[in-house]
């Protein structure tokens, strides 16, 4: 589906389904230099199991127009603007990586709009490697290579994709290569400069799920401890995977979300 948020068109994947206004809504928010398709399996499942799904492309990403937003607070406000444009009164928010920070901040700013919160591959603060940031600033392909190398657990760098026939690091690379120059840099700066994470967590009133990768070196599980301690009603699930958990462990991610939303 497409809606307009401000001056720009926004795309959200809905599983090719029309919304049922009586069904609960779930909004998926991707991470840096990604788009809605990173949630392909999980979002499709919920679209066919009683929920209205909106896997958004953030501004400047995928099929959404505009420029990437330069900080997490702006992303959170943009999400609320998207809810308004799509006429979503209350939503479950699922965010990965940068998307997890955006949904955390949105849940804190507008608790009345968020019924559940799922943070995947998250950390507060979300450190960004200096070399990675420099490569992204220079629009150097090395930035994508570093991300790919760090986003998958060591054994998954050699494949073994549960999704038959797909080479997951190749897919991840192509997805990043599609973003326009400076988008990755903007996303990484937003991650690195976000300092309100624990204050936001303290302002979250709904139930939360934290889904962490035991082998995640982009957002190591231990970097989420303070967040875990701050959120009021939180359950933590740790999976045997790296940062790209939706690719590495698609079913485990789905099962954790199903259990959380049961």
């Amino acid at each position: 589906m497409r809606v307009r948020v401000g001056d720009y068109g926004v795309y959200a994947y809905t599983g090719s389904r029309l919304p049922d206004r009586t069904a609960p809504n779930i909004v998926f928010v991707h991470g840096s230099a990604n788009d809605h398709s990173v949630f392909a399996l999980q979002s499709r499942y919920f679209a066919y199991h009683g929920r209205n799904v909106y896997a958004v492309d953030l501004p400047g990403h995928g099929n959404s127009e505009g420029e990437p937003l330069r900080n997490v607070e702006t992303l959170a406000d943009w999400l609320i603007a998207f809810f308004n444009a799509a006429e979503l009164k209350e939503v479950t928010l699922v965010g990965h990586s940068l998307g997890s920070l955006a949904v955390l901040e949105a849940a804190a700013r507008h608790p009345e709009r968020v019924s559940r919160l799922a943070l995947l591959g998250t950390a507060v603060p979300m450190a960004v490697n200096d070399q990675l940031l420099a490569a992204a600033a220079a629009n150097d392909h090395v930035a994508f290579e570093l991300i790919n190398g760090w986003s998958f657990s060591a054994k998954r760098l050699l494949g073994g994709n549960p999704w038959p026939g797909m080479w997951m690091t190749g897919q991840a690379m192509r997805l990043m290569e599609r973003v326009r120059p400076n988008v990755l840099y903007a996303d990484l700066v937003a991650c690195r400069e976000y300092t309100n994470g624990l204050r936001a967590a303290a302002g979250v009133w709904c139930s939360s799920l934290m889904l962490l990768g035991a082998r995640d070196v982009m957002t190591p599980a231990k970097a989420a401890r303070d967040l875990t301690a701050t959120l009021r009603d939180v359950s933590v699930v740790t999976l045997d995977c790296g940062h790209s958990m939706m690719s590495e462990q698609p079913d485990a991610v789905l099962d954790a979300l199903r259990e959380f939303l049961r």
Partner: protein, 434 residues
């Protein structure tokens, strides 16, 4: 200084896509010789059918052994994924029918494998898909053949049998200027010699029967997607409706929405393999995996042997023109140096001076070179294209494809090169006396 964590080509030939079998710890990829896979429960089954969960349903659609092979070739080609098919011809057919239907048009190199030429020139027109054949070296011919209904450009990395080197960067750029994808048959080269995606191609297929398998024991194909082509780009909208419009055959799925990078493969598997059914058998995939494990070693030896055979033939008085791009007189020599720095493969043709009877005597006198219709075997092979692989082509088409009555095609194997030279020398001597 952090370095990207990646694996090199030789490592990928052994490991990509494979993990020790979770059930038994088997190091080699098991042959999952099963038609179907048990569903844990009805919800799981429904989720598999509707692409909500990852996994296997029925081995025509996907199979764990085939999936390892698919990942491996995708890794070696630097693609996003692949589909294993029953043959190289099935891979070519799958690529075409995934992208287009009746009323569509293809622009293809004239220097094609005879089977590919048959499909494009004679069979597909019955289904409303037509092809214009062009001189692969003439970019103006490629350009002027493109029509509004064109959906694909297609050529071979090394044309059959004259070894015309496809100028992938230039043909790809032309294709992209017209918002069209370039499909490349990389059978003769394998990713060890060239990765067409590195030079701009969008789709690659292999007759895996040949060098990837390497031992002449199976029939198989592989279709690989680079994941780079933007099927839904604004200026291409409407051209690739199979990927950009709702598909009634799968819950109105819009493939480009479902997968940003692999829409083509999704449709190919969810429609082409499902409905046409030209899938690969798991035992074939297992054998192919064994072959690919030694691909770098074999290709290096194939190329080394070929260079020695070419040098030998070049000095022989009964041998006319030799079509091998590493020779300075080959019209694509400079291009081959650029695109194929590791070598120009192990299949080439030469013209035997003399009569048709002398050609017959030459082939029948060979002892190590086997006279058969295949290339890319560990054993050396020979054939007379005009009377076999390309026998359906008219004299004019043969001439345009660079084939004469005296053209002999060799596929140089892994034997000791001195033995191969002696075999050729003896056969040439016999031909000379005929």
């Amino acid at each position: 200084m952090a370095k990207p964590r990646t694996h090199q080509f030789d490592t990928l030939t052994l490991h990509a896509g494979a993990v020790p079998d979770p059930a038994t710890g088997a190091r080699a990829t098991p042959i999952y010789q099963t038609t179907s896979f048990v569903f844990p429960d009805t919800d799981h089954a429904a989720a598999l059918f509707n692409m909500e969960r990852a996994g296997h349903i029925y081995s025509r659609i996907s199979n764990p052994t085939c999936a390892v092979l698919e990942e491996r070739i995708a890794a070696l080609e630097d693609g996003v994924g692949a589909i294993a098919t029953a043959s190289g011809q099935a891979a070519l057919h799958l690529a075409i029918v995934t992208l287009m239907g009746a009323g569509s048009h293809i622009v293809a190199s004239r220097a094609l494998y005879g089977g590919s030429h048959n499909l494009l020139a004679f069979t597909l027109p019955r289904f409303g898909i037509t092809t214009t054949f062009v001189d692969p070296r003439n970019l103006d011919e490629w350009r002027s053949a493109i029509r509004p209904e064109t959906r694909l450009l297609f050529g071979e990395t090394l044309g059959n049998p004259g070894l015309d080197v496809l100028d992938i960067p230039r043909v790809a750029a032309l294709a992209h200027d017209h918002r069209l994808p370039l499909l490349v048959d990389s059978t003769f080269t394998t990713p060890w010699l060239v990765r067409p995606f590195d030079h701009g191609a969008d789709l690659v297929f292999h007759s895996a029967t040949k060098f990837l398998s390497g031992h002449g024991v199976l029939i198989g194909g592989l279709l690989v997607d680079s994941g780079r082509f933007a099927w839904d780009a604004a200026d291409a909208r409407g051209k690739f409706a199979t990927l950009t419009e709702p598909y009634p055959g799968f819950h109105e799925m819009v493939f480009v929405e479902e997968s940003t990078t692999a829409a083509f493969l999704l449709r190919a598997r969810r429609e082409g393999i499902r409905d046409f059914g030209a899938c690969m058998a798991p035992f074939t995939a297992f054998q192919l995996l064994q072959g690919i494990e030694t691909l770098p070693l074999r290709m290096a030896k194939h190329v080394d042997n070929t260079r020695k055979i070419v040098a030998f033939l070049r000095e022989h008085p009964l041998v006319g023109a030799i079509g091998y791009p590493e020779l300075p007189e080959h019209p694509d020599h400079a291009l081959a140096q650029k695109l194929l720095p590791r070598g120009s493969g192990a299949v080439f043709s030469f013209d035997l001076k003399g009569t048709r009877e002398q050609g017959r005597r030459f082939i029948e006198s060979l002892k190590l070179f086997s006279h058969l219709a295949n290339v890319g075997d560990a054993k050396s092979l020979v054939i007379h294209p005009a009377s076999t692989t390309h026998f359906r082509m008219s004299a004019e088409d043969l001439r345009k494809a660079g084939i004469t009555e005296g053209t002999i095609r060799l596929s140089v194997g892994l034997e000791d090169p001195e033995d191969l030279k002696e075999d050729l020398s003896r056969a040439l001597h016999a031909a000379g006396k005929a």
